[in-house]
Symmetry: C2
Subunit: 236 residues, 2 copies
């Protein structure tokens, strides 16, 4: 991350920013792992793994608060300006997105536990696995773009979100059709619908992360921008 | 909001913070209006009103970016500390929640337009209206709590979220049962399911707003806390 930032008169400040972004990246890695494990639990109907995901959510929550405290402390003591200010406030916002991704992964795991316990075999698992891999790649790539402050790579993540949304809509429809065809405990199976919806939201959060990357790297707000306009900004 | 904050040596800074919180409250009022209008469009099957909600979303997006710029500018120029720092960063985070509430309202309005155009009469409208009023009250009350930095009132909003979640789950189930019973264009009607889900999410964002109020007023992180622990913090 140091290629874009200028070095500071106080070497302690550089170290502190590295410390902050290190914490952020570790949280990102944990959250990606949670998502991967929740999807694996679904595919392999592994109740213990799903319960592990639920149990680990608390640690993510604690790290989220710790990073937010760190951002506040840097703002108060170091009074950063320009690039550094953008970095610190964006890490604060982006941590919120990571924490919400962790929540969605825990939600997927909780739904798995409920369905396994109710003896319901989850439908359309192959399609969910494919969409899950798509969103996991988006998340990993945007974390990598954050580490390198690479706006173009961030844009590429945002561009893939439309494909993910289409997949998730298809999964929702296929799930319902299959649940109705089976005439199985419909009320119990309905919660299954939240899994593709959770994936869709994780895609949205990954896009938010991409926008933060562009903001830190370029100083440009690309929130609410069309992909076409965003593309121009990242290439300028 | 001035009762809690100390007055500053520079009267310009006080005015700037008032300006910021004034913008925030106006955005909150607009977002609440968007939600109210989208629900009224659903109940009265008023396509023109639903389209108006969609069209006004752009203005909310612009105001969101403007408030974020203002926060960054205050952080850079004024280098606030303690209470003021908490206020400015929390308004930044809270604006994000308001903008997402605006998005959910626009989504409800878009679903209305699609269903009206497809000739589908939306099911369980009475239940949705009741849940909509519940969440609209939560949003208005938390904005009011923000204006007064009233932690206890903020906590009361967070407490109501569990009731809202139960209502939304019931609506989802009732919607599906009715859609299946009607044997009407199922695929076209499925999007209707996102309306209770949107209400549920607006409730979540209102809870986030409540947590920001407690953070500004008390300097306490209540994110991820149980309601019981949160209750203790706000009363201390």
């Amino acid at each position: 991350m140091t290629d874009i930032r200028s070095h500071h008169i106080s070497p302690g400040f550089d170290a502190e920013l590295e410390h902050l972004t290190g914490h952020f990246q570790r949280l990102g890695g944990m959250v990606a792992q949670q998502l991967q494990d929740s999807l694996r639990a679904l595919v392999t109907t592994d109740r213990a793994q799903a319960e592990n995901v639920c149990a680990r959510d608390q640690e993510i929550n604690e790290r989220d608060v710790a990073i937010d405290r760190l951002c506040m402390s840097i703002l108060a003591r170091r009074q950063p300006a320009a690039n550094d200010l953008r970095l610190v406030t964006s890490v604060g916002h982006a941590t919120f997105d990571l924490e919400r991704i962790g929540d969605e992964a825990a939600k997927i795991a909780r739904i798995c536990v409920e369905m396994f316990d109710a003896g319901i075999s989850p439908p359309v698992v192959d399609q969910i696995q494919a969409a899950g891999e798509m969103v996991l790649d988006m998340l990993r790539d945007v974390l990598d773009a954050f580490a390198r402050l690479d706006s173009v790579a961030a844009y590429e993540v945002a561009r893939r979100d439309a494909l993910l949304d289409v997949s998730c809509e298809e999964i929702i429809e296929a799930t319902l059709q299959e649940l109705i065809a089976r005439e199985q405990n419909l009320a119990g199976s309905l919660r299954m619908l939240w899994i593709p919806r959770a994936l869709e939201r994780i895609g949205d959060h990954s896009c938010n992360l991409a926008e933060h990357v562009v903001f830190v790297a370029k100083g440009e707000y690309v929130r609410h921008m069309s992909l076409r306009r965003m593309a121009k900004r990242v290439q300028s």
